[in-house]
C-alpha cells in the first residue's frame, strides 16, 4: 500500500509564524525582518521549495503565512474586461481548442473515455477514477454554467479529444464575504501527451475565459502542496464489502485477522434505523435549502446555495448523487439530511473485479437525529445499493462520527486552494464546508 502523504508544509509554516511588529518610520528594518521571516519559513519547510511561477501569481505565498497584517480577500483587483485577452492561448501546431458541448452524446462519450483512461490514479496504479457520463453532465452543468468553460483540446487531424479542463460557476462564502468563483476541475491530459506541457496552457485558458465573465476568484483541489493550501484534509474509508476491498488491494488483511471476522465487523443492519428516513424528493427542496444554509453558516468557507443550487446538486440522480432526509412522522417537518455522490473507479489488473463502486460523503445536516445515527443510516442504504466503500473527508463535522462508525484513515490527503483570495492563517478541516467533486 502507498505510504501516507506527509506534506506538512502548510502546518509547518503556521508553526513558524511570529508576529512582526510594523515599524512604519523605519522601512529598512521592516524589510529586513520580512526577509529573515522568509528564510525562517523556507528553512523550516523543506517541502516548500521555491515556486518561481507561483510567486508571481495572486495566491497566498508560504512566506506570507506569518504576516497576520495581510487582509483577507482578493489579492489583486479585477482587470477591466477590455484588457482581458480576447483570443485563446496558442497551442502546439498539431492541436486545436474545442469547446465541448455536453448535450452531444458522442462528445460526452469521448470525454468519458479520455477521463476513464487518463485521469487520476492512486500512487501504485491499481485504481483509476471512472466518472460516469451522467456524473459528468451533473458536475459540469450546474445552474448558470458557461459552455465556454468546458474546454477541450483535440488533435487537429484526427479530431481526437486529448485534453480537457473545466470550470463551473459557484457562489462561495469566505467568512462574511460571498464571492462569485469558478470551481476548476477535471484537468486531464492524455498519457501520451504528458511531455507536451498542455496543462499550463489549459489552466491559463480556463482562467482567461473565467475572467471574460468578470469572475476573478477560483477554488480547486490538488493532491500536491502548492502555494498555499487554505486547508488540508484526509480521506477516511468505511468498508462495506470488505472481501472485495481486500481482494482488489484497496485494504489489507493482517496475518492474525480472519476474513470471516472482518466481514462480521463491517456488517450493517438490513434497513435504516431512523423513523421517517427516506429519499429526498423535489417537494423537499425548500426545506433542505433552509437546513443546509443554516448549517453551512457555521463554516469559514462554504458554498452559498440557493434553491436552484440545491435542486441541481442534491436532488437524487441514479448512480450519480443520492440524498436522504428525516421527516418527523408526527409533524412532517424535515429535520435532518444526508447525501453522497457516486464515483466508481476502474480496478486495474485484477482477475475478479473490474470496478470499485465508491460512495463519497457530500453534505450532511443534523438537527434532531444525532449525526452518527444519520450517517449510519447512510451507510446502510449505501450497502443496500451494493457500494463497496463509503468515503468521507474529515471536513465539517465528519470527524465526530468517523471512528465510531468504523471509518479508517486513508493514504490520500486533499489540499484545498483559493485563487486570488487570501484567508489569513488558513483554516482547519472542521472549518471547511465546501466539497469539490
Amino acid at each position: 500500500m502507498a505510504a501516507p502523504n506527509n506534506n506538512d508544509a502548510a502546518a509547518g509554516a503556521s508553526a513558524s509564524a511570529t508576529t512582526s511588529e510594523p515599524a512604519p518610520e523605519d522601512t529598512s528594518i521592516e524589510a529586513l525582518a520580512r526577509r529573515v521571516q522568509e528564510h525562517m519559513t523556507l528553512a523550516s519547510n523543506p517541502t516548500a521549495r521555491r515556486h518561481k511561477f507561483w510567486e508571481t501569481q495572486p495566491v497566498g505565498q508560504f512566506r506570507d503565512a506569518a504576516d497576520s497584517s495581510l487582509p483577507d480577500g482578493a489579492i489583486e483587483p479585477p482587470t477591466p474586461l477590455s484588457e482581458v485577452r480576447a483570443d485563446p492561448y496558442p497551442l502546439p501546431a498539431a492541436f486545436e481548442w474545442y469547446t465541448c458541448d455536453l448535450d452531444d452524446d458522442a462528445l460526452l462519450t469521448d470525454l468519458y473515455a479520455l477521463l476513464a483512461h487518463n485521469y487520476v490514479e492512486d500512487d501504485e496504479n491499481m485504481f483509476r477514477f471512472n466518472y460516469s457520463p451522467a456524473f459528468l453532465r451533473w458536475a459540469l452543468r450546474p445552474p448558470s454554467f458557461f459552455r465556454a468553460w468546458h474546454i477541450g483540446v483535440r488533435a487537429r487531424e484526427s479530431k481526437k479529444l486529448v485534453a480537457f479542463i473545466s470550470g463551473v460557476p459557484a457562489r462561495i462564502r469566505a467568512r462574511d464575504d460571498v464571492v462569485r468563483m469558478a470551481e476548476i476541475n477535471f484537468l486531464c491530459v492524455h498519457k501520451k501527451l504528458r511531455s507536451k506541457r498542455l496543462a499550463p496552457v489549459l489552466i491559463r485558458e480556463v482562467t482567461r475565459r473565467v475572467h471574460q465573465e468578470n469572475i476573478w476568484q477560483a477554488a480547486y483541489t490538488a493532491g500536491v502542496v502548492l502555494p498555499t493550501p487554505i486547508t488540508t484534509c484526509r480521506y477516511w474509508h468505511r468498508s462495506l464489502n470488505p472481501k472485495k476491498l481486500i481482494d482488489v488491494g484497496f485494504s489489507r488483511l493482517g496475518p492474525r485477522m480472519t476474513m470471516s471476522r472482518t466481514v462480521r465487523l463491517y456488517k450493517l443492519p438490513e434497513a435504516p434505523l431512523t423513523p421517517g428516513f427516506r429519499q429526498m424528493e423535489l417537494r423537499d427542496v425548500a426545506a433542505v435549502t433552509r437546513l443546509l444554509r443554516a448549517y453551512l453558516a457555521k463554516f469559514v468557507v462554504a458554498p452559498d446555495f440557493d434553491e436552484m443550487d440545491v435542486e441541481h446538486w442534491l436532488l437524487p440522480r441514479e448512480d450519480v448523487v443520492d440524498s436522504y432526509l428525516v421527516e418527523s412522522p408526527e409533524t412532517h417537518e424535515v429535520t435532518d439530511f444526508c447525501s453522497f455522490y457516486t464515483l466508481p473507479s476502474s480496478v486495474l489488473n485484477n482477475a475478479n473485479y473490474a470496478t470499485l463502486k465508491a460512495a463519497y460523503s457530500y453534505y450532511n445536516v443534523s438537527t434532531k437525529t444525532p449525526l452518527q445515527q444519520l450517517m449510519n443510516d447512510a451507510l446502510i442504504v449505501a450497502k443496500q445499493k451494493n457500494y463497496d466503500v463509503f468515503n468521507a473527508l474529515d471536513v465539517m463535522e465528519n470527524e465526530s462520527f468517523l471512528k465510531e462508525l468504523k471509518f479508517g484513515p486513508g493514504d490520500g490527503q486533499l489540499h484545498y486552494y483559493l485563487y486570488n483570495y487570501r484567508i489569513r492563517n488558513g483554516i482547519k478541516p472542521s472549518e471547511l464546508g465546501l466539497v469539490l467533486l
Binding site: M1, A43, P46, R49, R50, H51, K52, F53, W54, Q57, E76, T79, V84, R85, Y89, P92, A94, Y119, V120, E121, D122, N125, I184, N185, F186, C188, V189, K191, K192, R194, S195, K196, R197, L198, P200, I203, R204, T207, H211, A218, T221, A222, G223, V224, Y235, H237, K243, L245, F250, R252, L253, G254, M257, S260, L265, G408, P409, D411, G412, Y417
Partner: protein, 336 residues
C-alpha cells in the same frame, strides 16, 4: 620511489580533472535547465508579459528520489521551473541526458561522428518534431548530414525519440546517470507512462492500515499459518510430523478454519481427507462452514457439505449457516 611518485601525481591529476568535469557538468546542467527545460513541438511565440492574464499553474511534481547531487531545492532556482508541471520521468531523464551530452561536448569528450548525428536527429524529433526544414545545399556537408539524420527519422513519436536518445547515451556513457538527479528505476528500463500526482483535481485514497483484531493478540501455530497461506506441502509435512489436524489457535480456530477463511480449496481438501473435524467450532461458535458462507467461498462450502458439515449448528449469535448464506446456493437446501 619514482614509480610511487608517478602514480600519486597521476591520481592527483585525475582527481583534479574529475572535479573540474563535475563542476562543469553542474553549471551546464543548471544553465541548461534554465534555458532549455521547456521542450515542446513547434511552440508558437508566447505573448508578452503585459498581455498575459494570471493563470493558476502549479509547479512541477517532483520525482521520488529526484534530488541528486546536482539539485538543491532549498536555495537553487534550478528546479523551480513551473513549466515542468507535466514533465514525466521520461521527460526529466531526457533533459538530464541531453544536458550531460552538452556538458561532455563542452569538455571535449570524444564521441563517434555517427553517434553524434544520431543524437542530433533524435534530439530534434524530441524537441521540434518531424523535419520540415528544406534540405541544405550539398555543398554544406555538415549541415546536410545533420538534416539527413533528422529527416530519416520521419514522424517518430516524441516519446520514442526521447527513449532512444537515452538508450544511445547509456551505450556511450554507461555511468552517466550516476551523477544525475534523475533516479532510474531498478528493474524497469522502460519509463512508465503512468501519471504522477496530478497538478489539480481529486486524489485517489486507499485504506492505509491492515484489518486487525482490536485489542486481541491472536497466536497461531505453524500449521495454522500454513493453512492460512494455502501452503499444501507444509500442511502435509506438519501432519506427517504428528501435528494434531484439529489443533486450535488462541481463538479456537482449527487449520481448517484458516484454510476456508482465505479461500484455499486445495488446503481444505487435504485437511478434510486427513479427517479434520468439519464441525469444529471456534471461540465464537463458528464452524468452518460459517466461515465459508460469510466469506462467500461457494466451492469450499459445497465441499464441506459433501463431507457432512452440519448446517444446523448455531454460532454464539444464534445464526445457522442457512440463515447467513446466499439463497442461490442450492446445495445448502439438500444438506441434512
Amino acid at each position: 620511489m619514482g614509480g610511487d611518485w608517478q602514480e600519486l601525481a597521476q591520481a592527483a591529476v585525475i582527481g583534479l580533472l574529475f572535479a573540474f568535469l563535475v563542476a562543469k557538468l553542474i553549471s551546464t546542467v543548471i544553465a541548461f535547465k534554465e534555458d532549455n527545460l521547456r521542450i515542446t513541438r513547434s511552440t508558437p511565440t508566447s505573448p508578452s508579459a503585459a498581455d498575459t492574464p494570471a493563470a493558476p499553474a502549479p509547479p512541477p511534481a517532483s520525482l521520488d528520489g529526484g534530488h541528486g547531487d546536482t539539485s538543491d531545492g532549498s536555495g537553487s532556482d534550478s528546479d523551480s521551473d513551473w513549466e515542468g508541471v507535466e514533465s514525466t520521468e521520461l521527460d526529466e531523464e531526457f533533459s538530464a541526458a541531453s544536458a550531460f551530452v552538452a556538458a561532455s561536448a563542452a569538455s571535449g569528450t570524444s564521441v563517434p561522428e555517427q553517434a553524434q548525428l544520431q543524437l542530433y536527429g533524435l534530439y530534434k524529433i524530441a524537441t521540434e518534431g518531424p523535419c520540415t526544414a528544406p534540405q541544405p545545399s550539398a555543398l554544406k556537408l555538415k549541415a546536410r548530414a545533420k538534416w539527413n539524420a533528422w529527416h530519416k527519422l520521419g514522424a517518430m513519436p516524441t516519446e520514442e525519440a526521447m527513449q532512444k536518445y537515452i538508450t544511445v547515451v547509456d551505450e556511450l556513457f554507461p555511468n552517466w546517470s550516476m551523477g544525475s538527479s534523475t533516479k532510474r528505476k531498478d528493474e524497469d528500463t522502460t519509463v512508465s507512462a503512468s501519471s504522477s500526482k496530478g497538478p489539480m483535481g481529486p486524489v485517489f485514497s486507499s485504506l492505509m492500515y491492515e484489518e486487525e483484531d482490536q485489542g486481541n493478540d491472536s497466536e497461531l501455530g505453524d500449521i495454522h499459518v500454513s493453512a492460512r497461506e494455502g501452503a499444501i506441502d507444509d500442511i502435509a509435512k506438519h501432519l506427517a510430523a504428528g501435528v494434531e489436524v484439529n489443533m486450535r489457535d488462541s481463538e479456537g480456530r482449527t487449520p481448517l478454519h484458516w484454510a476456508v477463511d482465505r479461500g484455499h480449496l486445495n488446503s481444505v481438501e487435504i485437511l478434510v481427507n486427513a479427517n479434520a473435524d468439519v464441525n469444529a467450532q471456534d471461540n465464537e461458535g463458528q464452524t468452518a462452514l460459517h466461515y465459508a458462507v460469510l466469506c462467500e467461498r461457494e466451492d469450499i462450502a459445497e465441499l464441506l457439505v459433501k463431507h457432512h458439515a452440519d448446517v444446523q449448528i448455531k454460532d454464539e449469535d444464534g445464526n445457522t449457516v442457512r440463515e447467513l448464506c446466499p439463497s442461490s446456493w442450492s446445495f445448502m437446501n439438500l444438506a441434512n
